[in-house]
């Protein structure tokens, strides 16, 4: 008997990704699909796709998906969840979507402790529009709108969304992960599972921030991008749990 040790998650559609080579969007898609399989919730899950490079996310998950306008995913997810409280609702959002144009929706979904799960891809840039500065771009980072690097005097400081949302009474589970190594990929999968479980247990708002790469707009090879993430993003965006009240009553 041959033993199957690796297969495509059932929740992941059998189509090629449109992402650039070395882009971590694909890894995170796969992790979400694995978690959906493990929890056996494919038929109950509804995803909300963002505007950003993941705009085609609806092509990749085998669950129902709704496309939101740029930044509005948490509000759309709120509507879906309120109408169907028994379903599992997740949004998938980049840092432009979640931390720039959609900051208000993100913050207020958390303050209301909406029982939804946000998967937040932080690649420190607006990928889809061709690499402009995002609120999460690091000081000194070269982007199309900061050709000599982000300057604090002109563009201010990068925003730490996990830390900020953790201060809100309404948030229940907030964790920052990374997909730069096998160990961290496994941890990201476990964290996404915990976030979905938080929702299944009706514990309220959960978000997993995933530090990610954009080799195309960072102008680096996929391998160099991983180094850049470790050397530059991790010190400013430390990995770890920022909020976990899933053990108590909610």
């Amino acid at each position: 008997m041959m033993e199957t040790i690796f297969e495509r998650p059932k929740a992941l559609a059998d189509v090629p990704f449109h992402y650039c080579p070395g882009c971590t969007h694909g890894i995170v898609h796969r992790l979400i699909a694995e978690v959906i399989d493990e929890l056996g919730i494919e038929g109950d899950t509804i995803g909300v796709a963002p505007v950003g490079c993941a705009v085609f996310a609806y092509n990749y998950f085998n669950c129902d998906m709704q496309e939101a306008a740029h930044g509005r995913a948490p509000a759309v997810a709120t509507g879906i969840k309120r109408a169907n409280p028994e379903n599992i609702i997740f949004t998938y959002q980049g840092d432009g979507d979640l931390a720039a144009i959609g900051t208000a929706e993100t913050v207020h979904a958390a303050t209301r402790s909406e029982n939804i799960t946000i998967i937040f891809l932080n690649n420190a840039i607006y990928g889809m529009t061709g690499g402009q500065m995002a609120p999460t771009s690091l000081v000194g980072q070269v982007t199309q709108t900061t050709p000599y690097g982000r300057k604090v005097e002109m563009q201010g400081y990068p925003i730490r969304m996990s830390e900020m949302l953790a201060t809100l009474e309404g948030s229940s589970f907030i964790k920052r992960c990374s997909v730069d190594s096998i160990k961290n990929i496994n941890d990201t999968r476990a964290s996404i599972k915990k976030a979905f479980q938080c929702q299944i247990d009706k514990k309220g708002f959960s978000m997993v921030e995933v530090l990610s790469t954009c080799p195309t707009n960072w102008g680096l090879s996929p391998a160099e991008s991983m180094d850049w993430l470790r050397d530059n993003m991790m010190p400013y965006y430390p990995l770890g749990v920022y909020k976990d009240v899933t053990g108590g009553d909610r």
Binding site: T129, G130, M133, P147
Partner: protein
Amino acid sequence: MSKRDRLSGNEAVSVAMRQINPDVVAAFPITPSTEVPQYFASFVANGMVDTEFVPVESEHSAMSACIGAQAAGARTMTATSANGLALMWEMLYIAASSKLPITLAAVNRALSGPININNDHSDTMGARDSGWIQIYGENNQEAYDNFIQAVRIGEHPDVMLPVMDCYDGFITSHAVENIELLDDDAVKKFVGEYNPGESLLNRKNPISVGPLDTVTHYFEHKRIQAEAMKNAKQVILDVAEEFEKLTGRKYGLFEEYMMDDAEVAIVIINSTAGTAKETIKGLRAKGIKAGLIKIRVFRPFPVEEIAKALSKVKAVAIMDKCDGFNAAGGPLFNEVTSALYGRADGIKAINYIYGLGGRDVSVQDIATVYDRLLDIVNTGNIGEVYNYLGVRE
């Protein structure tokens, strides 16, 4: 003196912005207008302009920042498309009613939903009643020339309204064409300094911008705004005349192409006018008296002038790259037919919705519209008024 170059529409507009050297630019990226603020950001970084460039977090904030800056007495600019323009909506009306002549490069893209990044006019047509002046251009040269003129038009004391320089996404914004650029100094001289009569932080004359206008003043306020839009027509013509002296390039409220003896005509906006001109050349070679009117100024709408220009044709097709969803026709159709009413009655007018979401329109497609017009002239039978070109039914 001018200089020949090869630039995309977005590059050309960003060069115009550099030459103008505005005080503040606040913008958020959106395809296909992203390149305008992006090129401009490099001019700022390279010290070629001394503009405050603010990469804000959304278009709502972009227009809000423009409003603040312009009210404070700064010459202010931005660029956007489609959903970005839609997100500015609330602020568009406030900019116009506060007499703030902001200049906006509005790179036409289909408005969601469904989400689409290609060209049509549903974005700026949706904003047509926001109180902004709207000027449209067929190609890179016109996008550039209109942007420079927009500053003078908006800032004229009789007008003081914000202006959109509208041109087609990708077709004009991204295609590289030959273009004639003015010298930097000539542009600076042409636009001059921005000296608003009133602005914030004028110690001698403290003012409030945008205060509550109740039932006692709101109506009069709107009436003044309407008058400014009426005044804009003459100012647009005067600025165009001055621009012609400088460049030799002639602009009016619209362009008439082969209209002198035209029996059948179409009215159209932006880049597809170029396609239609090719169609007309072919028809003229066969002896068919076909003509075209290309709208340049949509707000204010040149009602009398359009009626006069169309008064001698027998049948006209008005082409909308945007549906009206009023079960009657597109926005340009409604404007043109109401212009004809009482001024040039009896002309047979039909409407075609075309090119939505970037659907390609060929010389042959436009030829079918002229065929239809000729049929109307020959049979006297107008048939369906509200039509679609190139859609699968």
